[in-house]
């Protein structure tokens, strides 16, 4: 049973460019969350998707957007990249309706903006 898978594992972009990160949730999970982890910091919540809609959002600008597909997979898009967007981006999944079910995390995508 595959866990949460993310692609690509590493990515290098230039300031001003746009990037798309992808995530497939754990089998049986229908809710996907995205987190940004800057170097030496704890992960910060970006947003969560359920039933193809953004359900809750953290304190991130509109440059950060996402999408969830009918098969529950998800994409994170970042426009107009800044140097400060360099971070590890983590995807996490969970099953809706199971209160307090812990999040399962992927290994992340390491984004470097130059």
């Amino acid at each position: 049973d595959a866990g949460v898978t993310q692609s690509p594992t590493h990515l290098i972009k230039t300031r001003g460019q746009q990037v798309t990160l992808r995530c497939s949730p754990k089998s049986g999970h229908d809710t996907v969350s995205w987190y940004q982890q800057a170097l030496g910091q704890g992960p910060q919540f970006i947003f969560q998707y359920y039933e193809e809609e953004e359900r809750q959002r953290g304190n991130f600008p509109d440059r950060f957007s996402g999408h969830q597909f009918p098969n529950y997979s998800s994409e994170l898009n970042v426009n107009a990249l800044l140097l400060g967007d360099s971070a590890l981006y983590l995807c996490a999944s969970s099953p809706q309706g199971q209160n307090n079910s812990p999040l399962h995390f992927g290994n992340g995508t390491r984004l470097t903006v130059t």
Binding site: S33, P43, F45, N100, S101
Partner: protein, 114 residues
């Protein structure tokens, strides 16, 4: 607003000695609390969770944590450290009754000395 504070950014122990990683939380409600571990260049792995059942929670790899409401603490312990325990540890609080958003502490880096 909910928050967590990890009291030590770095902890060093000798192999075979006890481990104590400290976490204090702030929550207006009865919280759900978690400990996650992150090995270098990896995602986050759940160690244990507290969701208002038993106050002493046992997790994987010999770790356990005790929820103390009076002290608003959720410290992580292990009787005997192993070299493989060297990693970053995160204390996490989530919304009551849901998995909408995790709030992470800043992390504690555990070093295990031979």
């Amino acid at each position: 607003a909910q928050s967590v504070t990890q009291l030590d950014s770095h902890v060093s122990v000798s192999e075979g000695t006890p481990v104590l990683l400290r976490c204090n939380y702030s929550s207006s409600y009865s919280p759900s609390l978690f400990w996650y571990v992150q090995h270098p260049n990896k995602g986050l792995q759940l160690l244990l969770k507290y969701t208002s059942a038993a106050t002493l929670v046992k997790g994987i790899n010999g770790f356990e944590a005790e929820f103390k409401k009076s002290e608003t603490s959720f410290h992580l312990t292990k009787p005997s450290a192993h070299m493989s325990d060297a990693a970053e540890y995160f204390c996490v609080v989530s919304d009551v009754g849901g998995t909408y958003k995790y709030i992470f502490g800043t992390g504690t880096r555990l070093k295990v000395l031979a």
